[in-house]
């Protein structure tokens, strides 16, 4: 059972702070009054009588909590790395109240029964968990899953996650068939033959480390194919964790004439570049790999002009043994939910993004991609609020995480801004900000 650090029983008033509605794109005036976990009203009165508790939010930024389109919780199968519960806690402390889960569990989420398992198990959590079903049975790339039945049970998209659908015919059928359900198809875009054996981006940095590199075209070749198929069958496609300049350019071109294409980028791909791997830090070993500075810059320009719709974490837990192995054999992936906002804010604030734009990449952006309907502060609805300290500077420590794993490339980085409170109904999750 997930419980907040503070239970907001009775009436609570959030005093001070700037309140921003990312869906209506406007600032609201007043103090937020919550009654038993439900939004009551905005009031200018700081103490509107009766038995009211207050939560001081002065000088903070208050908005709708975040939506993540790309997280890996390891249940069922690898509960020692992450469970639905520990993953949700990690999300809540990172400011999220909605997470979409990738299907690469063991067994993979490739049947309506398994979608139902996730929906049932998380139904009383103070966070909305939206499963993504596999495209093909056992992620084998061969036969389509029961997509319609999975959608009926609650699947919001389909993806074979880290395993690209190599067979263009299967990709065509997946896109064409899923049209009638209005859900996007998400394909991990990597040409596996071109990537073969590589453990990082191919550049002078891989040369200096003696590691086999994966060229950036590994991704753009697949993105190009996928968008061509999508155009041919006129379906809906979402490109996950875009990492290269060419991919951004291809998506930009297609977006001009098609509103059926969307894309995401991870905080780590916009924060780091491949020179960060110079000491063989296996926490930075991810797929697709962290690329060189020109690619990083291009991802930021893609976010700026709307080519990339949102930021998604690709939160991927691995236990210490899997990461402490030597670089070549270490598992790919890093956790991200608890550092996503701060890592992205640190980068994008430096790049002169407005706070409203940054917030949109975590809220309205992902909602649009997955067709999730959200409203901020509607009377009688369960309170969903995140309170951020934009002035806060903190150094990430491996002991900070609520996730079961601590494989974060952000450890020891100094980040700007921090999520202070995440409120979901009566539960308030508080980051210790000593």
């Amino acid at each position: 059972m997930i419980k907040g650090d503070k239970i907001l029983k009775g009436k609570w008033l959030l005093t001070g702070g700037k309140i921003y509605d990312p869906f209506k794109e406007k600032y609201l005036k007043g103090n937020i009054l919550i009654d038993n976990g439900k939004f009551e009203r905005l009031t200018t009165n700081k103490s509107p009588g009766g038995d009211i508790n207050t939560l001081d939010c002065s000088n903070k930024f208050i908005t709708h909590p975040f939506i993540d389109l790309h997280a890996h919780f390891r249940e069922p199968g690898r509960e020692n790395k992450e469970t639905l519960e520990s993953g949700c806690l990690s999300a809540l402390y990172g400011g999220y109240t909605t997470v979409c889960l990738m299907p690469n569990t063991n067994p993979p989420i490739d049947t309506p029964e398994l979608i139902k398992f996730i929906m049932d198990k998380t139904s009383d959590y103070p966070i909305s968990v939206l499963p993504i079903g596999a495209i093909t049975n056992a992620q084998s790339g061969k036969e389509l899953t029961e997509i319609g039945l999975m959608v009926k049970e609650g699947a919001v998209a389909i993806s074979d996650d880290g395993i690209p659908v190599e067979d263009s015919r299967i990709m065509r059928y997946a896109l064409e068939y899923s049209k009638m359900f209005g859900i996007p198809v998400i394909n991990h875009a990597e040409d596996v033959f071109l990537r073969s054996g590589a453990t990082m981006h191919e550049s002078v940095e891989s040369t200096k480390l003696g590691l086999l590199g994966s060229p950036h075209i590994t991704e753009s070749i697949m993105v190009s194919r996928d968008l061509m198929i999508n155009e041919y069958v006129n379906s809906k496609i979402h490109v996950p964790h875009v990492s290269s300049k060419e991919s951004v350019e291809i998506i930009r071109r297609y977006k001009k004439s098609h509103n059926t294409v969307s894309a995401e980028v991870t905080p780590h791909h916009i924060y780091f570049n491949d020179s960060s791997l110079s000491s063989f830090n296996s926490n930075l070993k991810v797929a697709p790999p962290i690329r060189s500075e020109e690619h990083r810059k291009s991802l930021i320009s893609g976010l700026k002009d709307g080519t990339i719709d949102c930021i998604a974490t690709d939160h991927a837990t691995h236990n210490i043994e899997e990461k402490e192995n030597n670089f070549v054999h270490a598992s790919c992936g890093m956790i991200g939910l608890e550092t996503a906002f701060s890592g992205s804010y640190t980068t994008l604030n430096r790049e002169k993004f407005s706070i409203e734009k940054i917030i949109s990449l975590f809220t309205s952006g992902p909602c649009r991609v997955m067709n999730i309907q959200k409203e901020f502060l509607t009377k009688g609805n369960s309170a969903e609020i995140v309170v951020i300290d934009l002035e806060k500077e903190w150094r990430v420590s491996k002991d900070d995480f609520k996730s079961k794993s601590s494989n974060s490339g952000f450890i020891d980085e100094s980040l700007n801004s921090r999520v202070i409170y995440t409120i979901s109904g009566k539960d308030c999750f508080i980051n210790d900000t000593k």
Partner: protein, 309 residues
């Protein structure tokens, strides 16, 4: 005094360190010419040769260097290890550490593994080759051998020929040679020359005849058939035709060309046998200098005294 505690990479090794190691290397060369080739310098020190990958000459060279410095030597090889029983790399290394060794000489197939164990153990670590990354002691014996032959690094031109991509010798050589002011050209099949390597200050030329004509010395890399995926080299005869340092090619030169090879040689593939055995070949000097250079490195990293008795 060297500027580092471990010997992992030559990437940022200052010129002073390289010259000091070469100078001491020559002092140990004299020791190797004595009737009794042993000094008590590292008496009482424990050194472990930790080899996770097959090696004959590097391991023997280290073992001889260690024994001639009077260190106590233990050997570990992966085939007899518990790695096959699922033990993690960290556990293996920490178990060894618990037995209190002063220095670990490690060969491992994964790039970065030598740097990685410095985080797990207190011992001094020497990289005896980490995958396709670096082989710093090999590069040091190469520059020592060049210095022995040319007496200077000034205006020297060295070509490295072969499969640069899969070579740990090439990268360490590039770092050492460029630090010492030597001009370097790489020559090999374009897809076996790693991306961006010219940013390290080297030239690239695919024409072997031009390269041989340009160079004062060539370091010829072995074609490592066991490292290659299918199809990287169409055939041995095509490789020899395009990149082989053949008798014919060397005879066509109007100058002397110093021949080096880190071994083992594929005679008749990357290098013709009679070129390897010719007067201008310093391949066996490299082997002897290998022992002296490793003595020099061990001495500077491990010795508390300062005399070579």
């Amino acid at each position: 005094m060297l500027s580092t505690r471990h010997f992992i990479s030559l990437k940022n090794t200052p010129k002073e360190d390289l010259m000091l190691l070469i100078e001491t290397g020559f002092s140990f060369r004299e020791v190797l010419d004595r009737p009794i080739k042993k000094v008590p310098t590292l008496s009482g020190k424990n050194i472990l040769n930790l080899f996770f990958e097959n090696s004959t000459r590097t391991r023997m060279s280290f073992e001889l260097a260690e024994k001639r410095l009077s260190a106590d030597v233990s050997n570990f090889s992966a085939s007899s290890s518990s790695l096959n029983k699922g033990e993690t790399f960290r556990d293996t290394v920490q178990n060894i550490q618990a037995m209190k060794v002063d220095c670990i000489v490690m060969r491992h197939p994964s790039p970065g593994s030598s740097l990685q164990i410095t985080k797990f153990v207190d011992s001094i670590v020497i990289n005896a080759g980490d995958g396709c990354h670096e082989h710093p002691t090999q590069a040091m014996l190469d520059v020592m051998s060049l210095y022995e032959r040319f007496k200077t690094f000034k205006d020297l031109k060295v070509a490295i020929i072969g499969d640069i991509l899969h070579s740990r010798v090439a990268l360490s050589n590039i770092y050492a040679l460029t630090t010492l002011g030597v001009e370097v050209t790489l020559c090999g099949p374009p897809h076996l020359i790693p991306v961006g390597i010219e940013e390290l200050g080297v030239h690239i030329n695919y024409n072997i005849d031009e390269v041989l004509d340009w160079a004062d010395a060539v370091n010829i890399l072995r074609i490592q058939r066991e490292r290659m995926g299918i199809g990287l080299i169409p055939s041995i005869r095509e490789y020899r035709e395009i990149f082989g340092v053949t008798k014919q090619r060397v005879e066509n030169l109007k100058k002397e060309l110093v021949i080096m090879h880190p071994g083992p040689i594929n005679r008749g593939v990357e290098l013709d046998g009679n070129v390897a055995d010719s007067e201008n070949s310093i391949i066996l000097d490299q082997v002897l200098n290998g022992v002296a250079m490793r003595m020099s490195i061990l001495y500077h990293l491990l010795s508390e005294g300062d005399a070579i008795k």
